[in-house]
Structure formats: C-alpha cells, structure tokens
C-alpha cells in the first residue's frame, strides 16, 4: 500500500511541486493521475520509488518509510517497483530479450552481469513477460526495429520481469498513436487484473484515463483536487482539475474529427 501523508516537494529554485499531498493507494488498484502539464503529476509518481526526494511529510510503501532508504536498501526496495517511461528508454542497439533481461541484473552478481550469464530461470521469466504483453515472437529482434507501441510493450515486459508489486507509468502512451495507445492501456489493465499489481499511471489524455482507470486523482498546482472513482467524474470536476475547459490536446481520440 502506498501512503502519502502531507507530503511536500519544494525544488531548490523555490517551485512547489507537491503541496500537502495525502492519499492512500491499496494493492491492486488501477489509478490514473491527471492534470495540467507541470501540475506535479511526474513529481508525484517519482517520489514513490525515490527517484525524487520529498521535502516534508511522510511517504510509506508497504510500511517502509521511503525517505530513510539509501544504498543497498533502496536498491532492494526498488526491485519491487517497476517504472515505465514516456520515451520507452530501451537500449536500442541490442535485442528485445536483452532489454527485458536487463531487469534481472539487480539480483545478479557483478561478474554474471558483466558476462551476461543469465540463469535458465531468468530467461524463462523474461520470455514469459514478453508473452504476457503479446510480443513473444519479437524476442530476438533488435529493439530499434520495433514500432513505438511494440517498444513500449517491451518496456512493460521489462518491468514484469522484475515481478513487481507496483508499476509506475509516467505518460506511457503519450508518444503513441491512438490505436497503439489502446493496446498498451489494455496491457496495463490486463496485468493489473490478472496479476493484482498496483498500477499508477500519469496521463494527460483525459479520455484514456476515464476509459481505463478505476480511480482518478486530479492534481492542480501540486494539490490533490479530486480523488475518487472514475464513474463520479463530471465535466465540472474536470474543469476544476484543469482550471479551464478541456481542449483537443487533452484527448487522445477524436483528435482528427473532420
């Protein structure tokens, strides 16, 4: 369970990215965080695995206080949290399977990492992860030969190979076309339901958020302005979260409407 208690994040230049954030996310939930660019979505997600440090308040994940973690403990903690990025972040020059296997090195010795000696169990897990996102047949292709949507699925498989309890996704479909965006969001949904992994997604395409998430968290200028089930969202609440009417840019589909 992820628990924020009055968390603040103030950057060195004075920007207040998170302002008294309090929320709880239970294991197995599918949460979408929406809001304007720069509202604090990215910061919020990255505090969970300590890619960004908080400046006030208390943040616990499954009872562990995140701000006390460092070194070996921090690395052990991060093994259980997977992260998916907007720009996929794959090593393009090497094969798909090598990208997914890279998630296993955290548990391997330095020598074996250096020599690329993965155990049979590692390889099976990696292949099964690829299977779960439906691109097993691409296992030995070079990563840069895949389309954007396929690359993101490889990135997703990479997180699955960690056997995570939580998956954090920072604008995972922003760089994809509407069709592939749907496919990838479906993958997230399926993983969430089948494996009971908590999924927290940053997303600025409101229609996708509403379509796939069970729970929506709306952020405006670092403050949580909405936190509740998707079905309770109205146009009014959306206007409150965004501080304005929604535009075409906030939607993935219906973009090319004429």
């Amino acid at each position: 369970m992820i628990k924020f208690e009055n968390v603040d994040k103030v950057y060195a230049n004075g920007t207040r990215a998170l302002d008294k954030v309090s929320l709880e996310i239970e294991q197995g939930e599918f949460v979408a965080i929406i809001g304007l660019s720069g509202a604090g979505k990215s910061t919020l997600i990255r505090t969970v695995n300590k890619m960004i440090d908080i400046t006030a308040g208390k943040l616990t994940v499954n009872g562990i206080d995140v701000s006390t973690l460092k070194g070996k403990e921090l690395r052990k903690f991060r093994r259980k949290i997977g992260m998916v990025f907007q720009s996929f972040n794959l090593v393009l020059r090497t094969s798909v399977i090598n990208n997914v296997l890279a998630a296993r090195v955290a548990d391997m010795s330095l020598i074996r990492t250096l020599l690329g000696l993965y155990s049979k169990q590692d390889k099976i897990q990696a292949l099964e992860a690829l299977d779960k996102v439906g691109i097993l047949e691409k296992a030995y292709s070079r990563a840069d030969q895949l389309s954007g949507g396929q690359q993101q699925r490889v990135a997703l498989a990479r997180t699955l190979a960690q056997n995570p309890e939580i998956i954090l996704a920072d604008e995972p479909v922003a760089a994809l076309d509407p069709v592939m965006a749907d496919v990838v969001m479906e993958d997230f949904k399926r993983i969430n339901k089948d494996l009971n992994i908590t999924v927290v997604i940053n997303i600025h395409h409101v229609d996708l958020a509403l379509q796939y998430a069970d729970r929506i968290i709306g952020i405006n200028a670092g403050k949580i302005v909405y936190d509740g089930p998707t079905k309770n969202i109205t146009n009014e609440t959306l206007k409150m979260i965004y501080g304005r009417e929604l535009t075409e840019d906030d939607l993935m589909k219906e973009k090319k409407n004429d």
């Binding site: 020599l115 049979k120 390889k123 099976i124 292949l127 099964e128 299977d131 097993l136 047949e137 030995y140």
Partner: protein
C-alpha cells in the same frame, strides 16, 4: 494453453549461446599470455631501480629554476622556441608541397589517372617512419635543427595532403557556377569562390598538424635533429633530474598552451562556416 507453453519453450531454445564469445575470450587470453611470455621478461623490480625511481620523483618535482630562468642558449625558453620553430617551419613547408599535391589528387580537380599516382605517392610518404627520416637527414645534412625542419616538412606532407583532399572534394560546385554566370574571370573565381571555402578549413587542418608536429619535434630531438628533445634525453640519461623536470615542465606547458589556442581558433573557424 499448451501451444503458448510450446512457444516459450521453443523461444528458450533459440536463445543465443554464450559459448562462442566465451571461447573467443579464452583464446584471446591464452594468445596474449603466450605472446607476453615470449617477448617480455620481467626481471623484477630490483632495489636499484626503486632507488632511482624515488630519486627521479624527487628531482622531477623540483625543477631546476636555473634552466627555467636562463634566457640564453641553454635556457628553457630558447630550447622551447627552437622546438616550436622546427614544428612551425616544418608544417609551413609541408603545406607548400601538400596543397598542389592535394589538388592533383582530388577527383573534382584532375583526372583519375593523375589522382591515383598522387594518392599512392602520398600513402608511401605517410607510411615512411618520420623518425628514420630524421636520422637520415642528420647523417647527410648534419645534426641540428635544420635536419629537424626538413624531416618534419616531409613527414607532414602526408597527413596534410590527405586532409586537404577531403576538403577539396567537399567543395560546393554551385558557387563556381554562380560566379561563372555573373561573368567572373578565373582569378576572381578563385579569389571569391574557392579561397573563402578552403581557407578556414585549411587553417584548421594546419593547426591540427601543428599540434602533432610540436609533439614530434620533441621526439626528433633524440636523434639530434634539434629542439628540446635532445637535451631532455641527455638530462634523463645522465640522471640530472631537476634539469629534466624543468624541461618536462616546459614541454607540457608549451603543448598545453598551443593545444588550447589551437582548439579555440578551430572551434571559432568551424562556427563561422556556412
């Protein structure tokens, strides 16, 4: 369900084996080991060597102030300037020969037959060990900086030509056409069309080669072709560590300063292009 399991299994079998890389690694290691034992004999660091090393360290870091401040013939400044002079003159003379040679060898300037002859000539000149060239000049023309200049000149032709050829072949023919259409004479075409495109590149190339030549000039000193090299090697050979330290300092200083300015000018030139 069973067909899915089959796919994972079959993909697993296709996993590229680490064996070939492992064998190559092992083989290379064995080869290197054998080569090493054939050619290298490690007699162990004896006490004397260690003593010398300690003395050397002490001396090198206490450079001889006398040499540094001496402005006369045996002073550091004179030696450095002689080294620089050898490098500079050698580069300029090399350039004088390299430019026509480069034009002759460029595909957009002269026919292929002439190109190939010149390219072969350039390759041979480049491959000739400049070190030996230095010794040969010393033996025939006599020791001293002059021999150094000559060897440096010939040694530079190779690389200068090669780089200038690249620049010439990169020339934009459109500019020549435009000038033609405006009714320019050949002289004007060269002056306003050719030279501006070439000059900044050639200056860059010359500075690059100058850096290298300054380092080589130090080496040439060893075969008595002038420059600080000879004095440096004598000092080290005679274990005059403070003197050697002063000279090393001078060499480092001169090289670093030259590199700094040359890089600065070259980046400025590169920025002005296009």
């Amino acid at each position: 369900m069973s067909s899915k399991q089959l796919t994972v299994q079959s993909q697993l079998e296709k996993f590229p084996s680490v064996l070939p890389k492992f064998i190559i690694g092992l083989l290379s290691f064995v080869v290197f080991y054998i080569l090493a034992t054939i050619t290298i004999s490690f007699k162990g660091i004896n006490e004397r060597g260690l003593l010398i090393a300690i003395n050397a360290f002490k001396g090198l870091f206490n450079p001889s102030v006398k040499i540094i401040t001496d402005l006369g013939q045996y002073g550091l400044l004179q030696m450095l300037f002689e080294t620089l002079a050898i490098a500079f003159l050698g580069t300029i003379i090399g350039l004088v020969f390299a430019i026509p040679l480069a034009f002759l060898a460029s595909r957009n300037m002269f026919p292929k037959g002439i190109n190939n002859i010149c390219l072969t000539l350039i390759s041979v000149i480049r491959a000739f060990p400049s070190f030996m060239l230095g010794i040969m000049f010393v033996k025939s023309i006599g020791p001293g900086a002059f021999a150094g200049v000559l060897s440096m000149a010939i040694g530079s032709i190779g690389m200068l030509s090669k780089l200038i050829i690249e620049v010439i072949e990169d020339l934009n023919p459109g500019i020549a056409e435009a000038l033609d259409a405006a009714g320019c004479s050949t002289f004007e075409k060269i002056r306003y069309g050719l030279i501006p495109q070439l000059s900044s590149n050639i200056i860059s190339i010359v500075l690059y080669r100058l850096d290298i030549n300054v380092k080589n000039a130090t080496i040439l000193g060893i075969v008595q072709a002038g420059g600080i090299g000879a004095q440096l090697m004598f000092a080290i050979g005679a274990r005059r560590w403070p003197d050697a330290g002063a000279m090393l300092l001078g060499v480092i200083f001169m090289t670093v300063v030259l590199e700094y300015f040359s890089t600065k000018i070259r980046t400025r030139l590169a920025g002005q292009k296009g």
